[in-house]
């Protein structure tokens, strides 16, 4: 009964023309950005974040959430039609989507992708609707030691589950955490502010977000004349796209398993949709009788990938809102947006701001419907207009980045921070480090710092024992250790398999 009441509150919260218009705008923009390779979901949310400064918290979050939700589908369009994923989480979609395009069946691939995305996404938001209170209730039992560990886990897991060098990723995360400590300490002291008044509030998240995700990517694009240089010759049939909507229902076990996996992986801080898509695809292929057909145009591959990567968004959002730790890079940006609007994510938000939380969930569910309508049009009408010259794209996005960073505090200092972050982000990417880990660290640092100081105040000189004497904290520590061991083991296994494959090839 309580859920029905929350459902009603959420629906009433978004029942205005302004909010619906923002959902529509967010869905369209997200899909366009998602369909543009080189522009990720984190980048999309980061560059649009400044537009929400003067919106109400709910409207701002609704807009950004619908962008976040629809970017993932947009990326599958180019993955299917051009073999160029619009975002990393769509990489797997291309494995079977592009072969279908080559076989002249892009309608089937596009329709399957739309339908799987919507079903996976809707299912995860329904889970979120039902489960967020329970997650918040568990989070209420967390004390300062647990909250400190959870905040750190958001950065540590990026290193464990990411594909890059774990040492470099952890170094990036530690660096982000360190620069996040700049500013006024809870004890009242000024830490590493160098006498600069703009640093008293710490390094602002928004300029760093824009710099690391937008400016650094634009610096990469300088090396290209076009974002994508391919033309689309495949013809698509609108009726074919609609008929393909039922395809996921012909593979109910794949759909169910992938949606559950996606939602579950989304709950893990920092895991992200890319991991969800890969894990789901790998498992589906392993369990299939026709596994040799994967990679040749097997629709089950598309169902597995797209339902999982969209289902991840509900789980990620639940972790972000209920615990205050981002479930993905894009939700890290949403966390920044919450902070910007004066809201503190965590169980208090879930239980105290029901209109905002459930309004957001209902907006995400409604946006799935909007996504179907817009996605069909975008998928059908897409004509390879991705030959966008970068010399046009770069100045356009730089102007919005510049103004977005400046508008935060009307301060040139923030623009300078954005540009320095952009240049540094470019160097990080070029050398195998992780800008995403730096941003995660920056966002989570205040939480970790405050909770550690509270732990000192509660436990005195025995503060470190609190991580082992409190059952929840000990459980989190053990999960850390297990994740680190598993990560090291699977990397070693992957390396051995690669070495064995190379040796086999050499023998032949």
């Amino acid at each position: 009964m309580e859920i029905l009441s929350h459902l009603q509150t959420g629906l009433l919260a978004i029942a205005s023309w302004q909010t619906v218009a923002l959902m529509l705008a967010g869905t369209v923009l997200g899909m366009i950005v998602g369909a543009t390779p080189g522009l990720s979901s984190g980048m999309a949310v980061a560059v649009l974040l400044p537009l929400t400064f003067t919106m109400s918290p709910l409207d701002g979050l609704v807009f950004l959430t619908t962008v976040y939700v629809s970017v993932t589908y947009g990326g599958s369009i180019t993955a299917i039609l051009l073999n160029t994923p619009g975002a990393p989480e769509n990489t797997v979609t291309a494995f079977d989507g592009y072969p279908l395009t080559q076989q002249g069946r892009s309608d089937l691939a596009l329709g399957t992708a739309i339908s799987s995305s919507v079903i996976g996404g809707t299912a995860s938001y329904i889970v979120m609707l039902v489960g967020i209170n329970a997650v918040a209730a568990v989070a209420l039992k967390f004390g300062p030691p647990e909250l400190f560990l959870i905040a750190i886990s958001g950065v540590a897991i990026v290193g464990a589950v990411g594909s890059g060098n774990p040492m470099k990723t952890l170094a990036s995360g530690a660096f982000g955490l360190l620069i996040g400590t700049i500013g006024v300490v809870p004890t009242g002291e000024q830490r590493a502010t160098f006498g600069e008044p703009y640093l008293a509030e710490g390094i602002q998240v928004v300029p760093v977000l824009i710099g690391m995700f937008v400016v650094s990517e634009l610096m990469v694009l300088v090396g290209r004349d076009y974002v994508v240089d391919s033309a689309v010759s495949a013809r698509r049939n609108l009726g074919g796209i609609f008929r393909a909507f039922v395809t996921p229902f012909k593979h109910p076990m794949v759909l169910l398993r992938s949606s559950i996996m996606g939602c579950g992986i989304g709950l893990i801080p920092a895991a992200g949709a890319t991991l969800a898509a890969f894990a789901s695809y790998t498992m589906t292929r392993r369990l299939a009788k026709d596994r040799d057909s994967f990679g040749q145009g097997n629709v089950k591959g598309i169902v597995a990938a797209e339902s999982a990567n969209n289902a991840c968004s509900g789980g990620a959002l639940m972790t972000t809102l209920a615990i205050g730790v981002p479930g993905s890079v894009a939700t890290a940006v949403l966390l920044g947006a919450l902070t910007m609007h004066g809201l503190q994510a965590g169980p208090q938000l879930v239980q105290g701001q029901i209109g905002i939380v459930y309004g957001l969930i209902m907006a995400a569910i409604v946006s799935q419907v909007l996504m179907v309508l817009i996605a069909v049009g975008v998928g059908y009408g897409f004509s390879g207009a991705l030959s966008v010259p970068t010399r046009i794209l770069i100045p356009v996005l730089m102007v919005f980045s510049f103004l977005g960073a400046y508008a935060l505090r009307n301060a040139p200092f923030d623009v300078e921070i954005m540009l320095v972050a952009g240049a540094f982000g470019y160097l990080l990417k070029a050398n195998g480090y992780s800008p995403a880990a730096v941003v995660m660290g920056l966002i989570l640092s205040p939480i970790a710092d405050n909770e550690l100081i509270r732990t000192f105040q509660m436990y005195g000189n025995d503060w470190y024992m609190s991580f082992f004497t409190r059952p929840l904290a000990l459980g989190i520590v053990m999960l850390f250790v297990a994740a680190a061991v598993y990560s090291a083991y699977s990397r070693r296994r992957t390396k051995s398999a690669q070495t064995a494959a190379i040796l086999d090839l050499a023998d032949e």
Binding site: P37, P50, L51, T54, T84, N165, M167, K168, L170, A171, A174, F175, L178, I179, T181, V185, T187, E189, R191, A192, T193, F194, V215, M219, V222, G223, R224, D225, D229, R391, I392, I394, P395, V396, M398, V399, F402, L403, Y406, A407, N410, P412, V415, E416, L419, V420, G422, A423, F424, Y426, L427, L428, K429, A430, N431, A448, D449, L452, I453, F456
Partner: protein, 167 residues
Amino acid sequence: MSAPERSSSKFPLREFLVPALMLFAVAAYWWDAAGLSKEALAFPAVLTGVLLFCLAGVAVSRIWAGNSAVRPTASDDAADTAPDKWTWAKRLAVVALPFAMVLFIDVLGGLALLFIYVAALLWLLGERRWALLVALPIGLSFSGIALFKFILYARIPDGLVPLGSLF
């Protein structure tokens, strides 16, 4: 993005650039923060330790791998055109130009600054169509300022062009 090709030398300087920058930032941090209370420095101390450990690990694994390290190959969606010798300068200009110009935002004003920046960037990136070199800077600077001034109420300095009379 495509990974940059690595030099064939055992200790390519490029690979030490990021660690060097991080260490410089850490040194600057502690130069200013030393002398604070134990509570204020505990977390940064732990983070500094972790960072140094990770960077040491990176250095050791790089030295260990030496010349036998597998070179990363460029991905299929790498640069559609071969980067010319001025690509690095263009990349630098994307951030250096506005960095220098924003220091004069009170003098130039938002509109003039953006117009000059967009025009200069278009030229540097290879745009040579005069119509676009004039229209895009005008369009972008006006629309950007209008959007942020009216929607976000950002206080953007007038400078050379009085925005109040235009909007």
